[in-house]
């Protein structure tokens, strides 16, 4: 891996610190074993795996972290969090990335654009759960 990959400017450091603040986790605890991604049932739909995202936060790759679809595909099943050998709440880090984005741009989905039929048919827990994850 090239050292150009590592970015430690002010912006990158602040990004990492914000993710750590929101999640309450220390991203440097991660030793990149990959167990979180191995057990994630959505890895096949993610353009970057969960541990890659954590590695990129460690390396200050803010833009790349934010551009991945990983945290939006994550369904908060928490399997990674119960399995991490370093006791990292990995799902909370995914939530922190979502929150970081949503606190600036609060509408990952636009609720008013959902068809009435869908709103009436879907279970309340799906709607409330989704809005809590996809809107700020």
């Amino acid at each position: 891996m090239s050292y150009e990959y590592i970015k430690f400017g002010k912006e990158e450091r602040e990004f990492r610190e914000k993710i750590e603040e929101i999640s309450g986790e220390n991203v440097f605890s991660c030793y990149q074993c990959g167990k979180c991604s191995a057990g994630c049932m959505f890895s096949d739909k993610m353009d970057r795996t969960v541990n890659q995202q954590i590695h990129r936060i460690q390396m200050g790759q803010k833009e790349k972290v934010l551009a991945a679809n990983t945290h939006w595909i994550c369904a908060s099943c928490l399997t990674c969090s119960v399995r991490c050998p370093r006791d990292i709440d990995v799902a909370a880090i995914m939530e922190a990335i979502r929150e970081y984005i949503l606190r600036e741009e609060p509408e990952k989905i636009i609720v008013s654009e959902l068809p009435k039929e869908v709103l009436e048919r879907l279970p309340n827990i799906a709607l409330v759960g989704n809005f809590r994850k996809m809107t700020g």
């Binding site: 603040e21 739909k45 369904a75 119960v82 909370a92 279970p123 827990i125 759960g129």
Partner: protein, 300 residues
């Protein structure tokens, strides 16, 4: 009669009426009656994993405080709020543990609640009805109430995520749970293991991208079929919806000939205990379980 202060949550009043009605009916038979909290509010469904957002924690603490008050009106009631929906269960359990250890969080939340003359009481616990069945009622006492053994039902227990994760909320071993297995065996059903017992159904992605759910649901159902099961048993209204509704859609697309009905555990209990079939609201299911029950002569 032992009575439990019961928190239904929103879905048991809408999509999952059969879950609630069957559970309440069997709870009375088992001397562990679920009595609804009179003035409950939505718990917020998903627990916030952010460390800096108290707003999202107020609703579940309010539920705990109202339940505590409700308990004073009940008979022989332990200081426990009983839940059925596994998402509510998880949200309430996590917040309950958080406020027990974080005085600062609790005092700020209580400040909000005091406006409505409510306070959280520290002696509250949250119990899923499955925990009550396992730990307080006992499988033996459940088996004693069975008047119609579920012969011919080959069922895969599907736990989903929220009954087993996170550590603070799990009701059983997270990698090798057994409560649904023992419960189904005590009803006389044949239990079939699927390694995808907690392979996430896609959850709330049904709202923003149903292809995610379709892909998860097809994998889960494929395994259930390969294993030779004819039913699945669940405890979460969202798992149930995704597995049932999306299955119907997928069957239309693929022409699959082997539909798998999705039961709530309490519906199978109600059938085995001879409750009237109507309480299960099977008409709300997309894959109608009555077809299988009829074949097995279990519907009457």
């Amino acid at each position: 009669m032992v009575q439990y202060s019961y928190f239904p949550g929103c879905n048991l009043k809408t999509n999952a009426k059969g879950f609630e009605k069957s559970a309440v009916a069997v709870s009375k038979k088992l001397n562990a009656e679920l009595v609804e909290i009179p003035n409950w509010n939505c718990c917020g469904t998903v627990h916030t994993m952010t460390s800096d957002n108290l707003m999202k924690r107020i609703a579940p603490v309010r539920v705990l405080s109202r339940s505590r008050k409700h308990i004073e009106e009940l008979e022989d009631s332990p200081n426990e709020v009983a839940t059925l929906c596994s998402m509510c269960n998880s949200t309430l359990k996590i917040v309950n543990k958080e406020v027990k250890v974080d005085e600062d969080k609790l005092s700020k939340i209580n400040y909000q609640l005091e406006e409505d003359e409510e306070t959280y009481a520290e002696d509250m616990e949250v119990k899923h009805f499955l925990e009550i069945l396992r730990d307080s009622v006992g499988y033996k006492n459940i088996a004693k109430k069975v008047i119609k053994e579920l012969k011919g039902i080959k069922v895969v227990p599907y736990y989903g995520c929220m009954l087993l994760h996170p550590e603070e909320a799990k009701i059983d071993d997270e990698e090798m749970p057994s409560v649904l297995e023992y419960l189904m065996e005590s009803l006389g059903a044949e239990v079939i293991f699927s390694p995808l017992f907690k392979f996430c159904c896609g959850s709330y992605h049904i709202v923003d991208d149903e292809t995610i759910v379709d892909s998860q649901v097809s994998k889960i159902l494929q395994d259930v079929r390969v294993k030779g099961a004819n039913a699945m048993v669940v405890a979460c209204p969202l798992c149930a919806y995704n597995l049932d509704y999306q299955q119907k859609k997928l069957i239309k697309q693929t022409g699959e000939k082997n539909p798998i009905p999705i039961f709530y555990f309490s519906q199978l209990m109600a059938i085995a205990m001879g409750e009237p079939i109507e309480i299960n609201h099977f008409e709300d299911h997309q894959i109608d379980p009555r077809k299988l029950l009829k074949e097995l002569k279990l519907e009457g």
